[in-house]
């Protein structure tokens, strides 16, 4: 009896592994292998244009150089600023969009679909679009602000601060609806009875939001925060297409710096060290968030 159960169990086990295998193989080759390969590369000094140097193993030398590199430090600050600003704005805007498309009104299906359009557009195309909008010679932004009677339009991308803000704006425009989608899912989990009870108790709209919606939405908000932080930390295409890092490195994010080191300068080891540090930064940030979300969920279950 027990034997046959054990047999059935192990057979189940084997079947389960077989079913998991494709997903596992996929993850290993596409997620785990590149990370390990990058890490291994980052321990060597490899300069493609100088094969005479060989490819010596240098341990953590690249990481030491990275910590002392003022250009990398600035790229880190730009990236961190971008993550903080864009994530905060995206959550705020995402919450507003979610509240609107959660409400009952005619044509809601259409509005929901429309809100998602920016998110569906490839980032490279969206970046090019924003670059055109803020072009100094024929950009829409200048036309809308000044009409066609001004002798000279504002060269938005010539100013370091404004170029950075345009990059944030493009990201907020594009991904707020993704945050909204996650928050909408959270909204739909809140039972209607709670609102009915509150209404009977005489709570107004704001009180209902502040005492029911917001606390119950926190897990969904944290999830959106996690996803957006992870995603925006590895921003690359916005800067690559719109500014290539300029002016004066004001939009040079870490991934772009790593790209330049690897693909333009052929410094494979150093470029890998940059990507690995981006990976590590995202990894630890995620651990932090997941811990926060996990405890919230436990509190609710208890």
């Amino acid at each position: 009896m027990t034997k046959s159960v054990a047999k059935a169990m192990s057979a189940d086990h084997a079947a389960a592994w077989w079913m998991l295998a494709p997903a596992l193989a996929f993850t290993l080759t596409l997620a785990v292998y590149p990370v390990i390969a990058s890490f291994v590369l980052s321990l060597y000094r490899i300069i493609l244009s100088m094969p005479a140097l060989g490819e010596p193993f240098v341990g953590l030398e690249n990481y030491g150089a990275l910590l002392r590199d003022p250009t990398a430090r600035q790229a880190f600050l730009v990236t961190a600023g971008f993550v903080a600003l864009s994530t905060a704005l995206e959550l705020l805007l995402g919450l507003c969009i979610a509240l609107v498309i959660h409400a009952q009104f005619p044509g809601r299906g259409w509005v929901r679909a429309a809100a998602l359009i920016p998110w569906v557009i490839p980032t490279a195309v969206a970046s090019q679009m924003w670059r055109y909008i803020f072009n100094d010679q024929y950009g829409l932004a200048n036309l809308l602000l000044f009409g066609d009677r001004v002798a000279e339009y504002i060269p938005w991308f010539a100013s370091p601060g404004i170029a950075f803000l345009i990059m944030v704006l493009a990201d907020v425009w594009k991904t707020s609806s993704f945050a909204a989608l996650l928050i909408l899912a959270g909204l739909q989990l809140i039972p209607d009875e709670l609102y009915e009870a509150a209404r009977i108790d005489g709570a107004n709209l704001w009180q209902r939001f502040w005492h029911i919606t917001f606390p119950l939405l926190r897990p969904a908000l944290l999830l959106a925060l996690l996803f957006r932080t992870m995603d925006s930390f590895r921003v690359f295409d916005l800067a690559f297409v719109m500014t290539q890092g300029g002016p004066g490195d004001a939009t040079q994010v870490l991934q772009l710096y790593g790209y330049k080191a690897m693909f333009t300068e052929g410094r494979m080891g150093y470029g890998s060290a940059v990507s690995v540090s981006v990976f590590l930064a995202i990894f630890f940030l995620s651990l932090l968030y997941i811990r926060a979300i996990g405890s919230r969920l436990l509190e609710r279950n208890a």
Binding site: S49, V125, E152, G246
Partner: protein, 467 residues
């Protein structure tokens, strides 16, 4: 260390090609040129395979068809190139050419091409090589030495200074397709109206620009004095090197030992651009301009002076594209005070990939493209300044392109960007420094220059350790 990293980046390469493709596609809308190329390729392929399929009646042996893949940018004058390709197809029906179009920006082009070369990709047979890549490609083994194919007698037909751009470490790696250096274009009609002769020095240029812009303000409020390239990209190094050079400075000592950006002469030149050019006679918009954007204000009639490469002559005098056709003058760039002017050396070389399986055929094609008749064709049909001394003195060529004389004079004194295999990394540091110097109003120039010097010197040290 296994070379497995070369393969692990293939997927990255795909994504990047896509991104660069999108960037390229949206950068300019003349997609029909690309379509035409595709069509031409189809026609060439069809034509050659038809010939290949036909057994040669006389010998009874089928002719083997070879397909060469040629990486180049989208030409400024596609028709001139299409014609050249068609002529080649007539004379060598057994070789068909497929053009692989890379992005117009030199850096994006470089990144795409080196991806292929470091993967030893045999699908690249020949390519256009920017003269600044010669040390890098030669050192990395990404370009085939041409010493056995390019005879000394043949080399002697090209301008020595042009030949020099393709040489590194005692070998020749490329055949110069043209001569190229920065030039000053100006509005001949406006200068004549105010009784000016073309400026010989930068301060003189500024004075003329201010008088003309002031005088025209009522009738043309959008007119500015100057337009050039000051975005954070490769061209910024050229623009700034010209100012520094004409002030008597150098980026790096001639022996490639020490970076000297913090040298007082260099600092003064950068400060001159900060204070006198960007935001004064030129709009701050030049901080976002590469070549294609910078030429627009000039050909729309909104700039008195314009620094660009020689192809601008064609563009500015084309009545279909330009409002100032026929009113354009061109002279060597100005100097600083009593010093001779400096101009950045540019140019593109024909080069063969060492990983190509058809190197002989690739050389045949290069010989054809760089032959005297073809250089004359490119000069007449596309305004490309020939690298062969004889064609540059050809009367018909000079008649069609009177500016070639000034260009030749300029070309001989042109300054090359630092010739080291680590140039791409050095260039990124230079771009960052110059762009910060121009874009931030409160930047500490000495501190920034000193820091860039330290970074560049560290790279030069790495380069020395290889020898």
């Amino acid at each position: 260390m296994a070379r497995h990293y070369q393969h692990s980046f293939d997927s990255v390469h795909c994504v990047l090609s896509l991104l660069q493709g999108i960037r390229g596609t949206f950068c300019d809308w003349t997609e029909c040129a690309r379509l035409k190329t595709a069509l031409l390729i189809c026609v060439l392929l069809l034509g050659s395979s038809a010939i290949a399929g036909d057994p040669d009646g006389q010998s009874g042996e089928p002719v083997r068809t070879v397909t060469l893949r040629f990486v180049s940018w989208k030409a400024d004058h596609p028709r001139a190139w299409d014609e050249a390709f068609a002529r080649f197809a007539e004379t060598r029906p057994h070789i068909s050419i497929v053009r692989e179009l890379a992005p117009h920006s030199s850096t994006a082009y470089h990144d795409l091409l080196t991806q292929k070369l470091k993967n030893r990709d045999a699908t690249v047979d020949l390519f256009f090589m920017d003269i600044i890549w010669v040390p890098e490609f030669a050192s990395a083994g990404w370009v085939r030495p041409l010493d056995d194919l390019f005879s000394p007698e043949e080399q002697a037909n090209f301008l020595p200074a042009a030949m020099e751009t393709g040489r590194y470490g005692g070998h020749v790696y490329g055949v110069p397709s043209r001569i190229d250096s920065g030039m000053l274009f100006y509005r001949a009609d406006l200068l004549a109206k105010y009784g000016f002769t073309p400026p010989r020095t930068w301060p003189e240029l500024i004075d003329q620009a201010e008088v003309i812009v002031g005088g025209e303000r009522a009738s043309q409020p959008a007119l500015r004095g100057y337009s050039g390239q000051f975005k954070q990209y490769e061209g910024l190094v050229c623009s700034m090197m010209e100012f520094i050079g004409s002030a008597g400075g150098r980026l790096i000592t001639a022996d490639l030992q020490t970076s000297q950006l913090a040298d007082p002469v260099n600092l003064a030149a950068v400060d001159f651009v900060r204070e006198q050019i960007v935001g004064r006679i030129a709009s701050r918009a030049v901080l976002t301009y590469q070549e294609p954007e910078s030429v627009v204000p000039f050909i729309q009639g909104n700039a008195v002076f314009h620094r660009n490469w020689p192809y601008t002559w064609e563009v500015a005098n084309d009545p279909k594209r330009s409002r100032i056709a026929g009113h354009v003058g061109v002279v060597p760039l100005p100097g600083m005070a009593d010093r001779p002017p400096a101009t950045a050396l540019g140019g593109w070389l024909y080069a063969i990939s060492p990983f190509s399986r058809h190197q002989r055929e690739a050389w045949e094609f290069i010989e054809f493209l760089s032959s005297a008749p073809l250089q004359r064709h490119f000069a007449l049909a596309a305004g490309i300044a020939p690298s062969r001394a004889a064609i540059l003195q050809d009367e018909r060529v000079l008649e069609a392109n009177p500016h070639f004389r000034a260009q030749l004079a300029m070309f001989h004194g042109a300054t090359a960007r630092p010739r080291t295999p680590l140039y791409p990394a050095i260039s990124n540091i230079l771009q960052r420094y110059f762009s910060r110097a121009l874009a931030y109003r409160d930047v500490n120039l000495v501190a920034e220059a000193t820091q860039a010097d330290i970074q560049i010197n560290r790279l030069l040290d790495v380069g020395r350790s290889a020898r």
